[in-house]
């Protein structure tokens, strides 16, 4: 369709998740028109991230070097672990600043339909970490959906025999949301988890 190099760029951009052929075309033309520094900076950022970012040997989060920033921070309580599916989930929680402990990234959720079983997740590493660091509480923050809940149940079942406190983030009405738009399952969870005033 296009001259070689621009078609190659469109093809490569189309491979990215959520980028269809039209978006890829728009992005490619933007890059061709953009100042050379901008395109160069993007290409270099991709290569730098790829070269310098790996996964933390402790928690599985993205890390520059062997351990991530949070696992390197001596001020973070090692006896509280927040278990999440993906690095981006840890980032979302970290942004809220509600966890004083550390994270453990499973690398996904149990999903038989996608062929992901417990052995594909960093569950063994979690159990070893809990024993080694004398973890007092594991807060499970997998997604509040079918796969996330199944994963939470599975992980909790393995953790409880170790004598550690296992909790799960509450489900309920989003703060600032409209009750009117709440679905039935969320409402029933909100009722179940109701608190004394």
């Amino acid at each position: 369709m296009y001259e070689g190099p621009i078609q190659d760029l469109i093809d490569e951009l189309s491979r990215l998740p959520g980028i269809g052929p039209k978006s890829a075309q728009r992005l490619a033309f933007h890059l061709v028109k953009a100042p050379p520094e901008e395109a160069k900076r993007l290409a270099e950022a991709i290569l730098a991230a790829k070269e310098r970012i790996s996964f933390c040997v402790e928690c599985g989060n993205v890390a520059e070097g062997e351990r991530c920033r949070i696992c390197r921070d001596p001020g973070r309580d090692p006896t509280v672990l927040c278990v999440v599916e993906e690095p981006k989930d840890a980032a979302t929680i970290e942004k809220a600043g509600v966890i004083k402990g550390r994270y453990h990234v499973l690398g996904g959720a149990i999903s038989p339909l996608d062929g992901i079983g417990p052995e594909d997740l960093r569950v063994q590493e979690l159990l070893e970490r809990v024993e080694r660091d004398h973890v007092a509480e594991v807060i499970i923050a997998t997604n509040p959906n079918l796969e996330g809940n199944a994963t939470a149940m599975y992980v909790a079942g393995l953790l409880k025999p170790l004598g550690v406190r296992v909790t799960r983030l509450a489900s309920g009405l989003p703060v600032g949301g409209d009750l009117e738009y709440a679905d039935e399952v969320t409402l029933s969870q909100a009722l179940e988890g109701r608190r004394e005033m």
Copy 2:
């Protein structure tokens, strides 16, 4: 928020049109997780496109080298020019295979609100080309919106005194669409442009 290189990558991706912070984050994590070859291919495609693609000295379309593929093709009628706003518009029309002539890319449309006047477009080049190549017909295919129409009127006004036939792509009902969903302006254009059966 994140370790340096991944934050840099998210920042660079966020600069792209239509990519918000959440999409940038998703793309960055995808690239970090992806096989190294994939990320490398994307970075190299960006650099290659930037290095090897410029704009055709004849028509203003994207080109590898001095002239684009279409301007280099001796089989394309040089006396019919299709005027478009952007290279991607030429590509869309080219995909339909309806133009046997060549293209002329203006590089945008007249839009006083965005500070784009006729002097920012490749209008002078169009006039020179029409005279030099003894162009018989100029088909104006700017976008069927306010800016595209204003640009079409302006360009047509300059071309007509040169004795060249100036036409504009028809507005009307999209083929395969539902009459029910047609807006009033499109309907009135469809009526105005109605054809004998």
